[in-house]
């Protein structure tokens, strides 16, 4: 039962951190932030790996493998698209010329 208490502590503290970090993010970054944090929520892949890790083809293993697939789409797709978006934000190298 102790482990529930620990989990609640960890959860509460992490929620405080999440709140503190995101207040005052400029609108410019809302979209990348959404897709980036979306990718982070793919952390559930860790649970999927544990669930799929068996030398049998029980239902639980199959569901685990399915979970791996979905979570990995979320992780890889999310991070890559965020990186692509952020890569497009650049400062003007021609400013000196242009202005």
């Amino acid at each position: 039962m102790e482990s529930l208490i620990v989990s609640i502590y960890v959860f509460t503290l992490a929620v405080f951190i999440g709140f503190e970090l995101i207040t005052k993010v400029p609108p410019l970054l809302h979209t990348p932030l959404m897709s980036g944090s979306n990718a982070i929520s793919g952390i559930t892949v860790v649970g999927a790996l544990l669930a799929a890790n068996a030398n049998n083809w029980h239902m639980s293993t199959i569901l685990g493998v399915l979970a791996i697939v979905f979570a990995m789409i979320n992780v890889i797709g999310g991070f890559m698209v965020t990186d692509r978006m952020l890569g497009m934000f650049k400062k003007d190298k021609k400013t000196e010329k242009g202005a």
Partner: protein
Amino acid sequence: MIYLEQFTYLLASALFIIGLKYLGSAKTARKGNQYAMIAMALAIVITLVISGVAGPLQIIVGMVVGGLIGGIVAKRIEMTEMPQMVALFNGFGGVASTLVAYSEYLEPTTTPVTLDVNITLILSLFIGTVTLTGSLIAFAKLQGILPGRPIVLPLHQILNLLLMIAVVIFGIMYIVEPGLPLWPLLIIAVAAVFGVTFVIPIGGADMPVVIALLNSYSGLAASATGFVLSNNVLIIAGALVGASGLILTQLMCDAMNRSLFNVLFGAVGTDDSTGESGTGGGEQKSVTRYTAEDAAIIMDGVQSVIIVPGYGLAVAQAQHVLHEMSELLQARGIDVKYAIHPVAGRMPGHMNVLLAEANVPYDALYEMDDINDEFQNTDVALIIGANDVVNPSARTKKDSPLYGMPILNVDYARTVMFVKRSLGAGFAGEANPLFFDDKTMMIFGDAKAVVTGLVKALKEE
């Protein structure tokens, strides 16, 4: 070994935190995303190493298949389709959490299963499934598979309430009799229905807010799964996403000058109802129509232009040719700036992403508060596919859905040019009196076609 595992998870958690922090500032955002990637890689690798990989084949296949799909989608996706992609991925994250929880239900890692594991298992099944079906509906609305307008069933809120009650009852039954496979399946079924009925009455254009909220849910689902498995990195990363998604939702609602409650239950949004209808109220006022060539001629004599992009720019995919046009103007010594309203387009930061894609440097983009004082000294305000964000009714018309929303003061510019297809209203369905102003030039047509025409005319001169 447990130390190695736990410390790696701790390190991963810290990197997630730092990554998320960096994602919040323009200069460091890309680095932040990379930190989060490293954190994820660390968490995956240590899990594989520690758990000994008993069934390597299925795991590798699963990872490769998922990774490939994700990678291909990420490479191919158009920037305008970003909202639906994020929605879909959210759903995948949610369903993954549900699957893990259900798999844990079938073969628990630690027996006997304690009460707290069972409670968090229910939460995980429920939140994950709601995230899945809710996200699928959001995706369908944004992709045009479902109509964007709000679909309200009879007794909708009562239905939702009944569904919630059903979940609580099934949850209690499950805890009383965990052996029976019926209860978790019923919980999943009800959650699936609830996800649909939760999102379907929300207008297509409010979807970004819903997506941010579902993003938060997908984090909470991961966190709940972490409770089930007593795994701290799941709990922490999930909680970070849960909290930040909630804040983001709030920030978005604030920018639209609406409450979250109004977004979720207000059934606002007439996304599909464009066209020449429904504008101008009763009396017929006259507008002055112009062509791209007329606009090019006017541009001859001006010194400063502020471009105001809106949703129509995204629809028409006109960002690249717009950038070409603004470079032509600059070549003539005209001062060109972009004014970005926080809710222009259909998702937050939408215009920034689009224009960035077209290589517009981000220091040419001005946020509303930074540029609103400049319109009065500007020759031309060029509004491309935007309406609500420049609609002066927001200042004066008390019963308008826009009332109170801060707008870009384009009406203070010497000349106002609108590029859009019709006199149709925007997302809020509010007629724009500025169309009929004497200093306004209406240039009807698809944004891409008109701007291309402008570029051509500017080059020929």
